[in-house]
C-alpha cells in the first residue's frame, strides 16, 4: 500500500489531469486537518514541499556531520565494550542520515544534489556539531545531552504530516533511545570514578550544555523564550506555518523547556552541575526556569566559520572524494554482472 519512494513528482502527474488547484488545496488541507499523512504521490503546495526538503535535508546533514565528533574517539575508547557501543552508535547516525535522504528523495530531489549543497555551503548541518569533542567524556555528554535534545525534538516528528518523514523518524527515535541511555551510562561511570574522571565529566557538560539547549531546538521563537518582540514574531511566523502544515507540532521554545525539565533531575542524579546559574524550579509555572536563549546567546553558540566548523565540511568532502573509487567500482561491478536489474536501463 505504500507508494514507491521515487515516483514522478505529483506536479507532473497532476499536470496531465489538470484538476482545479483550489480543489487540490482543499483536499490537501482536509487531509492535514484530519490528521492523515500526505504521501509522495499526493498533490501538495510548493511551499510545503520546499519546507520539507529544507528541514529533512538539514536533518540528514546533521546526522552525517554529527558522526564526526564522536567518531574521532572510536580508536581511543577506553574498553572494548565502550568501543563496540560507540561503533554501534556512530553507525546508527549514518543510518539516520540515509533514512532521511531516502525520505527527501520521495519529494523529487536527488541525494547527490543535497550532498553537493552541503559540501558547498548552500545547505547546512546543525551547528551543534561544529564544536569539538575534546575528551572521552565529550562522547558521553554529546549522547546524553544532544541526543537527549534530539529525542525531545524528534518524538513529535514521528507524527509529522509527511508520511515518509514520519516513518523515517519512528526508526530514528527507536535508535535514539539507545544513544541517550548509553551516554547517560557513560557519564555515570565517570561520575562514580576518580575525582579526575568526574571533573572530566563536568568539564564536558560545561561545554556541551549550551550547544544542546540553544542549537538543537533552533532559534528562539517566542517572547517568553527570550526573543525580542520582532524576532519572536519572525520566528513564530515560521513555526506557525510549519505547525499549520503539521510538519512541526511545537514551538522551538516549548521543546527547549521540555528538554531543560528532563535534564535537570538527571544531572542531579549524576551529581553534575548544568552550567546555568539561573536554573531553578518555578513552582508557579511548574517548570524549571533557565537563562533564556536569546539571539545573542544563540549566535555565540553557533560558532560559525570557526576552525572546527570549516573542518567538519572539509572532512566530509575529503571522505566523499576519497570514497569515489568505491562508488565507481560498485557501478563497474553492477554493469558487468548479468543480473537483469543491474543491466536494465
Amino acid at each position: 500500500m505504500t507508494a514507491p519512494t521515487t515516483t514522478p513528482t505529483p506536479a507532473t502527474v497532476d499536470a496531465a489531469a489538470a484538476p482545479d488547484e483550489d480543489e487540490l488545496l482543499a483536499h490537501f488541507d482536509a487531509l492535514i486537518a484530519g490528521g492523515e499523512t500526505i504521501e509522495p504521490r499526493d498533490w501538495m503546495p510548493d511551499g510545503y514541499r520546499r519546507m520539507l526538503v529544507r528541514q529533512i535535508a538539514q536533518h540528514a546533514h546533521s546526522e552525517i556531520i554529527g558522526m564526526q565528533p564522536e567518531g574521532a574517539w572510536l580508536t581511543r575508547a577506553p574498553s572494548l565494550h565502550r568501543k563496540s557501543v560507540l561503533l554501534a552508535k556512530v553507525q546508527d547516525e549514518a543510518g539516520h542520515g540515509l533514512y532521511l535522504y531516502s525520505a527527501a528523495e520521495t519529494l523529487g530531489v536527488d541525494r547527490a544534489d543535497l550532498l553537493d549543497a552541503l559540501h558547498h555551503g548552500r545547505q547546512r548541518a546543525s551547528a551543534t556539531f561544529n564544536h569539538p569533542a575534546l575528551t572521552w567524556a565529550d562522547t558521553g555528554a554529546i549522547a546524553w545531552l544532544t541526543d537527549g535534545a534530539a529525542v525531545i525534538n524528534q518524538a513529535p516528528l514521528c507524527r509529522t504530516s509527511y508520511g515518509p518523514y514520519a516513518r523515517a523518524m519512528r526508526r530514528v527515535c527507536q535508535e535514539e533511545a539507545f544513544h541517550v541511555r548509553q551516554g547517560y551510562d557513560l557519564m555515570r561511570a565517570l561520575c562514580e570514578g576518580t575525582r579526575e574522571q568526574k571533573e572530566m565529566a563536568q568539564d564536558a557538560v560545561n561545554r556541551w550544555w549550551l550547544p544542546a539547549v540553544a542549537l538543537m531546538f533552533g532559534p528562539p521563537d517566542t517572547e517568553a523564550g527570550g526573543a525580542d518582540a520582532r524576532t519572536a514574531a519572525l520566528g513564530a511566523a515560521v513555526s506557525r506555518r510549519a505547525m499549520a502544515w503539521g510538519i512541526k507540532r511545537h514551538t522551538n521554545d516549548e521543546l527547549r523547556q521540555r528538554f531543560v525539565d528532563t535534564c535537570v533531575p538527571q544531572a542531579e542524579r549524576l551529581g553534575l552541575t548544568l552550567p546555568d546559574p539561573a536554573i531553578r524550579w518555578n513552582e508557579e509555572r511548574g517548570h524549571y526556569d533557565f537563562t533564556p536563549v536569546d539571539w545573542d546567546t544563540y549566535r555565540t553558540a553557533l560558532g560559525d566559520d570557526t576552525h572546527w566548523a570549516r573542518g567538519r565540511i572539509a572532512h566530509r568532502l575529503a571522505a566523499h572524494e576519497d570514497g569515489a573509487w568505491v562508488r565507481e567500482a560498485a557501478v563497474a561491478y553492477a554493469a558487468r554482472t548479468d543480473e537483469p536489474a543491474g543491466a536494465a536501463a
Binding site: 499526493d42 560498485a330 553492477a334 536489474a341 543491474g342
Partner: protein, 103 residues
Amino acid sequence: MSAAREGAPASWEVFLRARRGLAHQHVGSVRAAGPDAALAAARDLYARRGEPLSLWVVRSDALHTASPDERDPYFAGARHKPYRYPEHYAPLTEKGPEGEHHE
C-alpha cells in the same frame, strides 16, 4: 531525478520480513549500483537489530503503481458492494423466522 543510466546507482525499495508468519513489509529505500550492493545496503540499514528472516530489494523504477487519487475506478469497487462483507448479513446467533414461530 537522474536518468537511469546503465549500472548507475539507482533507488531500490526494501521489503523486510521481521518474523516468521508475517508478510514482507515495505520499510524504506536504499541507493545502490546493483542488486547485490542494494541487498548489502538494505541489510546494513534496516536489519541492524532484531533477527529479520528475509529481505527483498526491488528497483524503484520497476514498480508499477496506482493511487486512488489518480485512478479512482481501480479502487472504487469495495465501498458500494456491501454484500462482500459478513456484516451485511444476519449474525449466526440470531434466530430465524421458524425459531420465532415456536416461541
